[in-house]
């Protein structure tokens, strides 16, 4: 059988299966290795599809996640970029939530103190100068307008730290497990 026997739909089906595995490997094994694995899988799947049909060929791979995990056991990188990105996001979200909570408490305090005709600002920590963050904000004179710091050097520092710890720890933990 030759490649002509495969339709566009067949090739799409193969590509979807390959991409599902790629999704699991992305950021977890070195890029060059990942490309080699995917090319080999694509080649074998194409070959199999020509003999037994594309449905059967993909089915014969078994559980795609399990297959991806087998590759991860073999070639996992020292760093798990995806885990790093996840923990960086969590860290940023946590800072923002905490910042909002602090800001609301500050605004309530300002209102309770009978604020009138002036704006009130807070900068919780100025260890490295004003505006370093991460917790700073301002309540407008009317009490309804406000500003909240959502990006600062401190935000960046914490997010980077979370990324570094998350990617390294996850990588080490997974390697130990395997």
């Amino acid at each position: 059988m030759n490649e002509g026997a495969l339709t566009k739909k067949d090739r799409m089906h193969i590509e979807i299966a390959v991409r599902k595995i790629d999704w699991e490997l992305d950021g977890r094994i070195p890029r060059a290795r990942r490309r080699q694995i995917l090319n080999e899988l694509r080649s074998n799947l194409t070959e199999a599809a020509q003999h037994v049909g594309v449905e059967q060929a993909v089915q014969q791979l078994g559980d795609l996640k399990a297959l991806a995990n087998s590759y991860l056991e073999l070639y996992r990188s020292r760093f798990d970029v995806r885990a790093g990105a996840f923990w960086a996001f969590i860290a940023y979200a946590a800072i923002q939530l905490l910042g909002i909570a602090l800001f609301l408490a500050f605004r309530a305090g300002v209102a309770a103190g009978g604020a009138h005709g002036a704006s009130y600002s807070f900068d919780l920590w100025q260890g490295f100068g004003q505006g370093f963050g991460p917790f700073a904000g301002k309540v407008g004179a009317d009490g309804n307008t406000f500003e909240l710091l959502i990006g600062s050097p401190a935000h960046l520092l914490i997010v980077l730290l979370a990324f570094a710890i998350g990617s390294t720890y996850q990588g080490i933990r997974a390697r130990r497990r395997t």
Partner: protein, 121 residues
């Protein structure tokens, strides 16, 4: 030879590397071809998805080497062949396998009784 579907998948997993190395000792092959060669031997339960990582493991351990060969069917095929250390490893594993089979033979060759004997007092 047992009928299709009677091989225990866990047993097969344990000897997959040995089977792959033995097949590669006979002839250089690519992934899907090895799957079909295993199926032709009656090992139809072996899934493609267990063979491909097993080949990767053999390559990582230095037991096989690989090369890409252009294919008429599209993407290049990755052909595997047994390396020098692979031949040595195969010899070692084959001996271990024969020894294991020999050790189990006296137990497995006896007919299985309907129920076990009572424990000795």
């Amino acid at each position: 030879m047992p009928e299709d579907g009677v091989h225990d998948s866990q047993l097969l997993k344990g000897v997959l590397s040995l089977a792959l190395m033995r097949l590669l000792a006979d002839r250089e092959s690519y992934g899907y071809e090895l799957v079909t060669r295993l199926h032709d031997l009656g090992l139809t339960e072996v899934q493609d998805g267990s063979v491909y990582p097993a080949l990767g493991r053999l390559e990582r351990d230095g037991h096989v080497t690989s090369r890409l060969v252009a294919s008429t069917s599209g993407a290049a095929r990755k052909y595997y062949r047994l390396s020098t250390t692979g031949y040595a490893a195969l010899e070692h594993i084959e001996l271990a396998w024969q020894s294991l089979v020999g050790a189990l033979e006296p137990i497995l060759s006896k007919a299985v009784p309907a129920k076990p004997k009572e424990a000795l007092p």
